[in-house]
């Protein structure tokens, strides 16, 4: 793997909250155009890792290298401008702004911040809304959307920033099977159309196994496995990590059987 193929390097990142070690010496690389699944039981440190990458938290140790540049500890808005966009696990719509205005904020302050005028931002935002299927709601207040739509709005806002790297934090959680299928379709589509690299945190196992090129597994803040979905599904350590959650373990087992 030559270095120009790598868009993101997470190098030995450690993040502590008091005595709790949320991330412990986590390292991995992401190739351009890749979809990387980030999984692990609740509390494994996945969202913390996202927050370290986006600058919300400063890591105690380690580095984050994006497109060859050390971005460790830079403020979130600067990192966004460099081309990383994130959706929130717990949706954070700007409720008293319209759906279109929500997405416009992404465009105005994203990768081309200060170069995008209001009219252009409107067009970029509308394109993103079309991609995620929210264009019909562009004039509604964001507060009126249902959960699935709010998750898609998170995605549209992130896409409006015109990022190179998209971090998706449980965009599928709480959605029904049909919505999950639709959302996966959308993610695949935008990834191809916009030549994005994606890291997605996901608990919906069949979905993440299905869409990811590679998977990184965190457990108690450590990386315990990394590989293609088949390897991960058959990794004993991963299965053990999930055994505390019988349903998920069962899903792994089922998958092994059907293979």
């Amino acid at each position: 793997m030559s270095s120009s193929d790598v868009i993101l390097i997470v190098d030995n990142v450690t993040k502590r909250f008091g005595g709790l070690v949320a991330n412990s010496r986590v390292s991995f690389q992401l190739k351009r155009g890749e979809i990387l699944g980030l999984i692990g039981p609740n509390g494994a440190g996945k969202t913390t890792l996202f927050n370290v990458i986006t600058g919300v938290y400063k890591p105690d140790e380690g580095k984050v290298i994006f497109k060859g540049e050390d971005i460790t500890g830079k403020p979130p808005h600067e990192i966004t401008r460099k081309g990383i966009a994130k959706t929130h696990q717990i949706v954070k719509p700007f409720n008293d702004m319209t759906v279109l205005e929500n997405a416009m904020v992404g465009a105005l302050f994203g990768k081309r911040a200060r170069q995008v005028a209001m009219e252009e931002a409107r067009e970029i935002a509308m394109d993103s809304l079309k991609l995620v299927g929210l264009d019909a709601f562009s004039d509604e207040f964001a507060a009126k959307l249902n959960l699935h739509q709010k998750k898609m709005l998170e995605l549209a806002r992130a896409l409006s920033a015109e990022p190179d790297l998209l971090l998706l934090d449980e965009v599928l959680a709480g959605l029904n099977p049909k919505e999950i299928e639709e959302s996966l379709e959308i993610i695949r589509k935008v990834k191809d159309e916009r030549n994005l690299s994606v890291i997605m945190i996901e608990h919906v196992m069949h979905a993440v196994m299905n869409i990811s090129d590679r998977i990184v597994v965190l457990h108690y803040g450590r990386k315990i496995a990394e590989g293609i979905p088949e390897e991960i599904a058959n990794n004993p350590e991963v299965i053990t990590a999930y055994l505390g959650e019988p349903e998920l373990a069962l899903k792994f087992v089922k998958r092994r059987v059907t293979k």
Binding site: V56, H77, P93, F94, N95, M97, F109
Partner: protein
């Protein structure tokens, strides 16, 4: 089509500005009345920049009113060139001196803002009240030292040769008001305003979306302070002096109430709110002296409880025919 309707907001603004001019030219009312209206409009529009757009309730905002007033009055009291300047150019001179007062207020806001704007909600409000009292007592301590024979208790009264005629002050007030309306309108329509509104809605999400939240908040706070300082300066000039009452919390409350009555974060809200407040204040004072402030308080409480978006905010919910009012009322 929408664009044409959007100009309704501009139409209302221009109508109000023209009305003030007409009243001035035809002497429909006294200059003092017009200046009082512009004073109320001015302080409401100033605070609107940080409270209306960014959602930070600056409860001690009178500190900038007081500081602006003191800086202006002391400048023209002690510096003869500035005393000359404030009489020049049919109000332009006075406006320029008031810009210096505004800059002093903005400098204070920028310095303190870096610290207090980390606080959110009630804590920010309390911090600004603390700032108000700090500067007030600082002024009470320093000002009498400047001229112990004259400045008893920190009160500065301009001698006759430093007072400016009301026509000149009116012109300065008028230009300041027009600029302030334009600034509010521009912010409302600009990426800066979008960023501030995003901060108001969810500051953490705004930051992650790329809004430079700290910078924007300090900018908004400084702008709000700058204009409040200018208004405080011209208000004091018109009063022929300044004293500590200009730091009073009642001024801060006036600003907040006008914005809340009119509609937070819009351009028309503070303008309409200040007109209503001014009328209400006068009416109640004339018809119910003694209990006027109690009645006003009850009205405000009802507004906040049941119509927190203010008059323009309520109107923006409705449609007239095919036209949604929120497309035409900004």
């Amino acid at each position: 089509m929408l664009k044409e309707f959007r100009s309704v907001t501009l139409g209302i603004i221009i109508a109000i500005i023209v009305a003030i001019l007409v009243a001035r030219v035809l002497h429909l009312t006294t200059l003092d009345t017009l200046m009082t209206i512009m004073y109320f409009m001015g302080i409401a529009l100033s605070l609107n920049i940080i409270m209306g757009f960014a959602g930070y309730v600056s409860f001690g905002h009178a500190v900038f009113l007081g500081l602006g007033g003191y800086v202006y009055i002391l400048l023209v009291y002690f510096l003869e060139p500035l005393n000359q300047l404030q009489r020049a150019g049919f109000g332009i001179g006075a406006l320029l001196v008031s810009v210096i007062a505004g800059l002093a207020a903005a400098a204070l806001a920028a310095t303190v803002g870096a610290a207090v704007l980390r606080l959110r909600g009630a804590f920010f409000a309390i911090a600004t009240i603390g700032l108000d009292f700090t500067i007030l007592y600082l002024m009470k301590a320093i000002v009498p030292e400047l001229n112990p024979d004259q400045f008893f208790g920190g009160q500065v009264i301009l001698p006759a040769d430093r007072i400016v005629d009301k026509e000149t002050i009116f012109n300065a007030f008028f230009i300041a008001t027009v600029v302030l309306i334009a600034v509010n309108y521009y912010i409302r329509k600009s990426p800066f305003g979008m960023g501030l509104t995003a901060i108001k809605e969810d500051e953490d999400a705004a930051e992650v979306l790329g809004v430079p939240t700290t910078l924007f908040k300090i900018l908004a706070f400084s702008l709000a302070a700058f204009f409040t300082g200018m208004i405080g300066a011209l208000f004091s000039l018109n009063g022929g002096g300044v004293d500590e009452t200009l730091f009073g919390l009642n001024h801060s409350i006036d600003m907040i109430v006008m914005i809340v009555i009119g509609g937070l974060g819009t351009v028309l809200g503070p303008i309409i709110g200040s007109l209503i407040y001014y009328e209400l204040y006068d009416l109640l004072l004339v018809h119910y002296p003694g209990v006027n402030l109690i009645i006003l308080g009850v009205i405000v409480a009802i507004m906040v409880l049941f119509f927190p978006e203010g008059l323009i905010g309520i109107l923006r919910r409705y449609k007239i025919g095919n036209v949604r009012l929120r497309d035409i009322l900004e």
